[in-house]
Assembly symmetry: C2
Homo-oligomer: 412 residues x 2
């Protein structure tokens, strides 16, 4: 299935598809006209990544409910949901409010809810959200029902299953599973929506074989929970699983109804280290300017530091000389030698490597930094400068659009 | 010198001091009414830290030009400049624009500038900013002069001295010092404002004695550079130094005209590890909610993860069991046993420790997390919930104000 960009109908609300740009570029702007540091999104790579995962889901017979915690962008959500139900996953209520305002009403808030947040959930319901909640605790399930009664509403709730990450959730064979389900079906102010898991321990895998095994554990845990529920007479419409590594490498989605990968939209060095992608799939980078030469200390310094790149160093476990990111040619996005950001102060990045080309990177020149972890790096920025790739160092990428992001936790 | 809060005149612009709050609290709001995660600022601790550094500067006979890259808050700037010249330091042009809008016109942009940023600097000048720039390069100095001519303006420029951090700057005895000075005095479109250094290598010190030694290196380097300039007939009005560790422990500020510490306003676990402060001085924390119990995996999970806390782990080099922050009682801000955030996923923090009090931290209860690095953690949030400290676990802190922050790099 090829994703139709630019002419199709978005299933989400029957709205005509909005063209990504009004012309070829924004008044002919190119990246050297951007203020640095700036977050760059390569549209061609984004579309390829989205198409790849969309086809994986379709081939596996499951819905793709992308996790928008990575992109936090309505434009990315519009692209990533094409050809699927239009449902999305969010990690904060601020994201829920933002995506609701952009027409996405079918939302899973995939973090265990606490009763104190239900008034905000209710406010979103009143604005039209069909927000499905998550719990792993019987007492919380009861408290959700009680609060729903007070608020004169009803909440759909998924039970979180721990498939091996041991973050939140219960084991598929825990006695709590049937207890929570019982609470959720007995009270008319709540509904049991199904089961959900996140195979986040795939991020610690050291081989594709291990990712495949974790994908099977993830699928098995949540499908087994669903079967237990159904055998006991409970409904279980949703059987939801997924992380990007397991979604990329799973041998089967049998028994699942949907997958929820997120970082696949952008990919990053950590996902490359996990064999989820190749370097040419990484759609996100930080444009930076060389601000100082320090040849006696074997480094150049750029104006992208800890705030623009984040302090995430996840890929270093597998990829030596990664530091806070790979330093690339600003036009082609090809890594320059083994240059990397070795130290990240607040607004300074120290670029080091075995052979620093001072002559081709004069003060004032631009580079692009590929990040360790796209979700965390992107969160430091409030918008994307969307570009089209170029193949040659002699051609400067054009900025074709600005896309916004929803950061923070404030529900607007 | 006691800082007069609430009645004094702010020297900055002769404006009457604005009271911090209109009443005792914001409509009686307490912290349990906040949405989590939320950034908390303890006003009493902030004022004590500000008074401490103000007295250090006054006793040392130097101006205090606080670095607002930490707080990024006009309210903090108003407090931190009281009793001093009103000049401040910024790390981005977005900060410069924000503080200018709040009446702070005397600004040092303490990151080496590149010519491409000068049009934005010029726009800020037109809005009234007296923005002093920084360079460590002769060719850049020339380019600044050339651009100033095109823009029909003049720029004041400091020469950055490397006092041992080896980030940016030149050695005090470098031939470049006089070359750059020469460019800056020969051209009427630029002025030589003086010299500046940052003893950032103090962050790697392992004892107070070492911090004191680095403070002397920092002072010596910049004062020696100033003396070289003056001996060669150049003006050198500003001799600027400072990091929080060196400002706290320096034995002398002789020869300096100003110090530029920043994180002292809030302090953090890293500064505590560096002996810059005690734990009871840390004014910033992240309020979080317990969202899951995992007794079989010896952890609880909170809704503050990598985005709310940052991925900074700086204090762990000295303080074991710190992880992504210390977990404290939400009311008193006292650490609970040795609880810490051991793992930080995007919106999940895994709280671990040798004895987790599940019974006193039920799901839905609040904790406060002390961060490794205040500058980086605060940057994830767009405002402060300002509170007054309480001494007892039985009293809930009141929220007395909301203060905004300027994040990102967009010049509004």
């Amino acid at each position: 299935m090829a994703i139709d960009v630019g002419t199709g109908q978005n299933r989400r609300a029957g709205k005509p598809w909005q063209p990504l740009v009004d012309g070829d570029t924004i008044a002919g702007m190119v990246i050297s006209e951007l203020d640095t540091p700036a977050l760059i999104l390569d549209r061609g790579r984004l579309l390829r990544n989205i198409q790849f995962m969309s086809e994986r889901a379709q081939a596996g017979g499951v819905d793709l409910r992308p996790h928008l915690k990575t992109a936090k962008s309505a434009r990315v959500a519009e692209l990533a949901t094409q050809g699927h139900s239009g449902g999305i996953t969010v990690s904060t209520l601020a994201e829920a409010a933002y995506f609701l305002d952009h027409g996405f009403a079918d939302l899973i808030y995939a973090v265990c809810v606490v009763p104190a947040k239900l008034d905000r959930v209710r406010a979103l319901q009143k604005r039209g959200a069909r927000l499905t909640l998550l719990t792993d605790n019987t007492r919380v399930a009861r408290a959700i029902a009680e609060r729903a009664r007070v608020l004169d509403t009803s909440f759909a709730v998924l039970i979180e299953i721990d498939s091996g990450e041991h973050r939140t959730g219960i084991a598929w064979d825990s006695p709590d599973l049937l207890d929570i389900a019982d609470v959720l079906v007995r009270d008319s102010h709540v509904q049991l929506a199904g089961v959900l898991t996140h195979g986040g321990h795939s991020y610690a895998a050291t081989s594709i074989a291990e990712v495949k095994q974790i994908a099977e554990e993830e699928r098995h845990a949540v499908v087994a929970a669903a079967e237990r529920l159904r055998k006991a007479g409970f409904p279980c419409a949703t059987v939801s699983a997924g992380s990007t590594p397991t979604a990329v490498h799973a041998s089967s989605f049998d028994g699942l109804t949907e997958i929820r990968p997120g970082v696949y939209t952008f990919f990053d060095l950590d996902q490359m280290a996990l064999n989820s992608c190749q370097v040419q799939d990484i759609a996100i980078s930080v444009l930076a300017t060389v601000i100082s030469h320090q040849p006696e200390h074997s480094r150049i310094v750029i104006d992208a530091g800890a705030l623009a790149l984040s302090k995430d160093v996840s890929a270093n476990a597998v990829l030596p000389d990664t530091g806070y990111g790979w330093v690339c040619d600003a036009h082609t996005n090809q890594r320059i030698g083994n240059l990397h950001v070795a130290v990240a102060d607040q607004e300074h990045g120290y670029v080091e490597g075995s052979d620093i080309p001072y002559h081709t990177l004069p003060i004032g020149s631009l580079v692009r930094v590929l990040p360790n972890h796209a979700c965390i790096t992107a969160a430091a920025h409030d918008r994307y400068a969307v570009i089209e790739s170029v193949a040659s160092e002699d051609v400067e990428p054009a900025v074709v659009d600005w896309w916004d992001r929803v950061n923070g936790w404030k529900v607007e």
